[in-house]
Symmetry: C2
Subunit: 327 residues, 2 copies
């Protein structure tokens, strides 16, 4: 590390935008900027924009890279943490085995860190959000897909090579719908935003009635989980049914995790959480009814507090934790 007491430059590279921020050890955001990811322009263009974003933010804040504790990157997809490698990334289809950590470290002359975005979110919520003071927690990010992160004994659990924490790809219905990962009936294929939109369209095509059709002007491909949520809040029965079904599946997945981890806390984040009790009510009910009573009594199921900043907060904590490990 260059400057052990310096702030971290934290980056969250998402499918639609890149958030770059300078954050102190105690979680103060000194500066932040955002730019579109523009995945379609390809890996090199995205990395080019990342570098200029980093340069800009440092310049605007009169910081040299050597004054940083390091640069820490959160990215979607399975990460090989020993090699600092983005193996594949669901939101960025042309990213394969990108040695992002060393590219950033060498370009900027700093220590660099790379962590999965949902793992970062789990650590972020643990240090600065819903999970402060908790020893063990499991976080799920409920969005287009379902990601996850695990904190054990107050530390991020990464597994053998950094790719632990994929409860979205836990099969709960072996005969269920196909998942992007190739399996059938993963939690992600049953309770993600994509699953909610797909189920609504499926039921409409089977001839069921819903205000959704009018809402999208008959364009089925415009139906999203957000729109299903909007229709449900206005009392649409089909929309409510679809969300409640996703919540039930989510509950089955959560009960599995409660039985496996006996966690103190499960934190639910991601855009789907905005569906509120329509989704979370059945999820909580099933999770607690279906898990071992002793573990059900021990767990609090809460929503995330840091919103879209969970990744940059977590990347920051990860860099400070990593330094401690190296020390």
């Amino acid at each position: 590390m260059r400057e052990p007491d310096g702030p971290v430059l934290a980056v969250d590279i998402g499918g639609t935008k890149i958030i770059i921020a300078i954050i102190t050890a105690d979680g103060r955001i000194m500066a932040e900027e955002r730019q579109p990811t523009l995945v379609v322009e390809g890996v090199q263009a995205v990395i080019g924009r990342l570098f200029s974003g980093i340069d800009n933010l440092l310049e605007q804040n009169n910081l040299r890279p050597t004054q940083l504790r390091g640069i820490s990157l959160a990215v979607a997809g399975p990460i090989d943490s020993s090699r600092g490698l983005v193996t594949v990334s669901p939101n960025m289809p042309d990213w394969h085995d990108v040695l992002l950590r060393d590219m950033v470290g060498e370009r900027c002359g700093v220590d660099a860190f790379l962590v999965n975005d949902a793992s970062a979110a789990a650590l972020g919520e643990h240090r600065f959000g819903a999970g402060r003071g908790v020893n063990n927690l499991v976080l799920l990010t409920l969005g287009t897909g379902i990601g996850g992160g695990i904190v054990i004994d107050g530390k991020l659990y990464l597994g053998a090579c950094g790719s632990a924490g994929e409860p979205g790809h836990m099969v709960i219905d072996v005969n269920g719908p196909e998942c992007g990962c190739g399996r059938r009936g993963c939690l992600e294929a049953l309770a993600s935003g994509t699953a909610v939109a797909r189920d609504a369209v499926l039921r409409l095509r089977q001839g069921e009635k819903s205000s959704l059709v009018e809402m999208v002007g008959g364009k089925m491909e415009d139906i999203t989980a957000e729109k299903v949520g909007e229709a449900a809040r206005k009392g649409d029965a089909l929309a409510q049914g679809v969300i409640s079904r996703a919540g039930t599946y989510l509950g089955v997945g959560l009960a599995n995790l409660v039985n496996i981890f006996n966690p103190e806390m499960i934190v639910l984040g991601g855009g789907m959480v905005n569906l509120g009790e329509l989704l979370l009510g059945p999820a909580r009910q099933v999770a607690l009814a279906q898990s071992f009573p002793i573990s059900a009594r021990a767990v609090r199921i809460v929503t995330a507090e840091l919103g879209e900043r969970a990744g940059i907060y977590g990347a920051t904590a990860y860099a400070f934790d990593s330094d401690r490990r190296l020390a």
Copy 2:
């Protein structure tokens, strides 16, 4: 603790027998004895036999309780480790909220420890068996039921109150057969010894042919997973099909665990492992094919090495680890 360098008196209370042993810190078994559990005689009778077994073994070896590091007990079922409580136990239906740890500690005047038997097996295999030198592992005991234990960072992971590690009660088929825990389609309901026997009987009742019928003299209720295994080894197609199906479900469960834990190792123990490649072949194949490639490459799926002594070895390691925590 009374004697930090002394051996541990380790006990494994199973549904059919109690194993009691005196074991040193480096895993040397100084003495061992077994007796039937005789669950039907009730909690007090079992505990009475436990006490006399402990007394006998100490006397035979010229040891006083104060020369022990402690007495450490492994018991099936969810344990409340903070209170030293056996909440319920699948093999001992009349055990409810038995304060076993303190009963033993006070009766014998020693420090006592209580841990779930499959968690103990995981720790035992980690210290003295298949998992030596590994940082993270998940163990499954494949028997009448399916238990589990988790070692993370070289330590037993117990969760918020000691009941972590129940991958047998992870639903993988929401529409599957009922499980003893009340859910549907748990791994235990699809891949345990009980499930194998049930599936064989089901197919026979549907009119399929098998040498099993003759083997049990027409008594369907005498069909066990062991007998199904025997028939399968002799080439019986129905028996082979039933075991291979259980192996496939086991593989789905293992893939879930690989995606969640990215473990270095999965250890498979319990009587079902004797079914050999008929069960383990499909399990391994499905587990590796269905999990993320980066995690699949990192995991070794192996069989347990300590047999029925895994529990007493693990209880021993648990006592020494606990002492270290208290120190």
